[in-house]
Symmetry: D2
């Protein structure tokens, strides 16, 4: 890289959760500087937020339309290189389409859009423009998730037979959307969150992780979505039985009402020769079990040869210096930035750099939500996965 990349931001004003996370992740490796933003639809918040981020007043915009227009008018080396979109789900599509139209690369929070239809249009736009879109499916940024993927790809576990992925959270165990919790309010509002709350918010992470690690695609689902808190207008819990295109079977469980649980995403993948287990709460560890050998504890940052280049590329510290959620998030930004810089510099990114979620992953995520909702409403056991 010859210079830091310049990032603009849509959404993410003060008190927004995920916008702050994106900034921490973008800052960490010193490859990106946050240059401009349309940080809130509330002008007061937008200005205050820009000031808190030490943005130039001239580049603290009140709307994204204004930002794209103004930035596009700046000289190439001054204008933003890409824009990060961290608005609620229903407000992803419009700024993303417009950014691409203006020639800006895009980083976007998941789920990629409000609807599958939007996702398809967005994918088409990305392909037309040849720009880069990066989707922040954070959990695939963890080095030991990448290690798991590498081990499956290299056949270490043999043919994959079974996937169990679960995502318990407890934060919606009460009717918090009626008690002034803004995050709970929009996430349980079908006009803002999309067709499913639990699957849009966390189920897609689990599905992405399953497909990412196994390299297989879901072909059929049998889903049940539940609203377990009385008075809630959207689902808050669900289970999905899965079939994959490599004949593996799976179960996906996601709940926002698993009282007392934090963010305990866990995946287990079993093949003919062994299995892996990864738990987001202990992310630097990958348990590898074997049929006829003792289980092994693979650790991020270790110096033994068992770690894939995809794992080591995504570590910053030696074993025993825990890297966490923000580093996983930063890995996505870093790989995106390295890839984008290669493009700007006319060089070739490595396979490790290119390993970040794309518009295709976003599209599959939206299809997952759609198919799960369809299945949940059906009396038939299996619903073929339609894209």
């Amino acid at each position: 890289m010859n210079r830091k990349l310049k990032m603009g931001m849509v959404g993410g004003g003060q008190d927004a959760f995920i916008g702050a996370i994106h900034r921490l992740a973008a800052n960490m490796d010193g490859l990106i500087e946050i240059t401009c933003g349309a940080l809130s639809i509330n002008p007061v918040t937008a200005v205050a937020s820009g000031k808190a981020l030490f943005l130039a007043e001239s580049r603290t915009y009140l709307t994204y339309e204004e930002m794209f227009k103004a930035e596009a008018a700046l000289p190439v080396n001054e204008r933003m290189d890409f824009v990060t979109i961290v608005t609620p789900n229903f407000a992803h599509f419009a700024p993303a389409m417009m950014a691409l139209d203006y020639g800006f690369n895009v980083v976007i929070e998941k789920p990629i859009t409000f609807s599958l239809e939007e996702a398809k249009l967005l994918k088409q736009k990305v392909e037309e423009t040849g720009l880069i879109l990066c989707l922040t499916h954070t959990y695939s940024g963890y080095p030991m998730v990448k290690q798991a993927k590498a081990m499956v790809r290299e056949g270490k576990l043999g043919k994959i037979r079974k996937v169990w992925v679960e995502y318990p959270q407890g934060w919606l165990s009460k009717l918090s959307e009626r008690e002034g919790n803004a995050q709970a309010a929009w996430r349980t509002d079908p006009t803002k969150a999309g067709k499913s709350s639990v699957m849009g918010d966390i189920g897609t992470h689990a599905a992405h992780l399953a497909e990412y690690i196994t390299g297989a695609k879901i072909t059929d689902v049998c889903a049940e979505l539940n609203t377990l808190v009385e008075g809630r207008v959207m689902d808050d819990d669900g289970a999905v039985m899965l079939k994959f295109d490599n004949d593996a079977k799976g179960v996906l469980m996601a709940s926002q009402v698993a009282a007392g649980e934090e963010n305990a995403l866990r995946i287990r993948v079993y093949g003919e020769k062994g299995g892996i287990e990864w738990l987001q709460h202990d992310p630097n560890t990958l348990i590898v079990r074997w049929l006829d050998e003792p289980a092994q504890i693979l650790r991020a940052g270790s110096n033994y040869s068992h770690l894939s280049s995809f794992a080591t590329h995504n570590c910053r510290t030696p074993g025993g210096h825990p890297e966490g959620y923000l580093e996983a998030f930063a890995n996505i930004y870093r790989n995106f930035a390295l890839t984008l810089s290669c493009k700007l510099d006319g060089t070739e990114p490595t396979a490790e750099m290119l390993d970040f979620p794309s518009v295709e992953d976003g599209l599959r995520g939206m299809a997952f939500i759609d198919n799960v909702v369809t299945s949940s409403q059906s009396d038939k056991k299996w619903t073929p996965y339609i894209m």
Copy 2:
């Protein structure tokens, strides 16, 4: 108790797995003496096994018919008080029925019979005779499982919303039934194991645990059974979505091909106020999570007032002296023995003594297998649970 109880055994000769477990469990507390046995259909094995157990030659029988007849002819204080049946599934029913007819109480390994029909007949026989039948659903013998049940019953978790129960094993990951593994051979043979291998062997344990802890009954299932090892003639993996009669939802996952897994039965139950997690590999610990409080680590044998009398009654040692599978098994024998002794002595057993699995639990286990198989073969999503 005024004297040790005398136990006879059908099956459980040398090299049989579960028979040895039953003896360890029966011995431990010094309340039971193994007095006689029809330990094998192979006469040579039967005699050798009796000798190894220091049984009197006169009470080492070659068939259970012979044993029941001979023992029944002995004076009351000499004959066996009860018989334990540890033959393979298909050979439970006949000796159990005959034992009851001869007036012997029965301990029986799960699944209780080969078919649901047999289970119904057996239940009827138990009721007719007024004898005691104890089913060794081992995992409900653990003190922290009983603690979980007590906490649910006392409303500590609020209304129960969700149950996740899983039972991964890996021991059938290869086609071991073709490689001389006798245990694998009968367990994957539909003429010996019953309608389902995975559900008969381990799924019933998981289902029993879910109903035991929650006190709720399964009302509907949506099941998928898989044969994931090529060449196998029975299922070896499965998942079941569950509905309970208290409106809770559940997921049950069981696999014998989760390569590298041992016997990792785990259950999580979530209510309005909190949730519990119990893992058989760490059985003296019950994690209790709360909505607005730090999670707690409840430990068997602790002296704080948080433990139910049902937990403390089933511990032998103070906290930090791990009790395990054999002690859980022994708890079932001990409670059965205490209850039987009360009956013999004309006294009243406590609620804690009476807390061991019964013929009713056995019947529900068989119904579970049947309903899961029915659901698995159906195109409909939900199958109502038929007894």
Copy 3:
């Protein structure tokens, strides 16, 4: 074995802690029957305890002197084969000496005697009589402790450099000896417990474990004993730096006032090539760390070839069926019983059978207490270990 062995018991009446543990352990494997006892110095308790154990009235004795005399007068095949001594520390020596004089083999709770001098006399008596004395240093009965010992012996870890062993308990955090806790009362009374409470009760376990696993002997100690609860008349906490005869160094930490801890004995041993870690609270797991390989999780009962015959000989169940403290205890009884039976039968015990703690281990334990107390009272850093 041709018959069950007959066991007598000195101490261990109702409400005594460790006597009940001995019986559970002796019962489990069906190799031993409890035949007689002098269970309490209180005659009422002695009789009631004998009845609760279903002992014959004629073999429920009021004193051990009476028991030894009466049993010795019985025919060989009727009299007890060995006696277990489970009185408080100060009352070990006299019955042990007398039992040996009467020709009875002995099982004895640790610490073996009240003083080092007694231990020496007892060792001399054992050697003179040629009888077997078994000391119940429970923790060396765990299969994964034996696995650790085997790995060290086989050089898997290379030359041993460092040992860390710790034994935190919290049960004496209050002045319970003044609040009616009988166990606390005698254990903190120097006329009953010996020179050190913390080292006599738990420090010896830790020291034995360190020497047992490494096969090395302590040569020098630098100790500090503390009384951390005001008003207590004995120590309740201590630390000891260690030198071993193989040039390894060590640290031993023991505390009875580590508030909230249960019985968390843990040992770590590091060599040139790797290290092991074993924790009594999770006893079926042995973590093995390697310099240039991922750490391994060795599990009791596994069927891979990594487990030593000394580990597998001491397991009753397959991996994933947790065996605990009582099974470890029972392993000591079982190995003692097998060895004694071989002697009675005129056959040769295997090395695995012979692997139980002996009078020599008891003597080293007493020397450990003595040397630690000497060191603690000294201004000099290092105290050479005197036997």
Copy 4:
């Protein structure tokens, strides 16, 4: 804060370990921009490193003397606000003194200097200049370490009785300093590392953690330092028994040859009412054990009221989004930056902002090394702690 703070760097060129860590930590929160550096004594490396960090050529210096002079000549709002010193131990003192003389605030890697004498002079200089010096004792930056400190301070555990702190690493298990490992080479070279390798590198962290959490000061040490790898010229292992000024006792264990261990710093502190345990490998968890209550699992980022403001101030994400080593490191930078900004802005920093290690902590660290070395060379058991 009105603007980002400008940071210069001495040392930390390409391939240096700790310099990169400092930059990741300084970047993360967007409060600091790396503006200039004298990154290596090798001019080629210095220039290349500056380029890789996107530093202006004019502010990529070849020596720190040059940097301080040039930066001091810049207008106040352009010059660096502080300098971070990340050279090996022996090269901390000179640039730190000079920076202070030039009026620059200082962030410095531990141990603060090469010798205690230097540390005293540096402390004097800091006091004379009134500038801020921040020492990066990383582990005190973890939120759950701060929670532990708060709980002790608030008396939650009662009077503190016992501290166990351990720091096992295995990376020096081979004679790596002879095999081209530059890090190993200087850390085991007494002309570069100071009087003790193991205590300078990791023992000081452990000692700082013990004093930080308990709020007590070490008054006496009884130490043993070992060289366990043949051929090494410095110690690589040690143990220290501790006395504190609040009458608590302690044990500190540190090893660089605990083969297979990563960076497993762990501390346990026990008081009259309970104890805490914190392990750096699982840093978002604080286990709190109680005398008469179940143990609790306190988790960083949780929303219950049990967390101190000092813990919550140092979290960026909700519970279940693991923050790690880099975030702990960043907490130190962030608190330093907030404090420095307050000073620049003329406002008052909060107690939470002021909570970062100071020159006093650095001085105590150097004294710890000195006293431990003195004790290790002494025949006397206890060495009074001399500052």
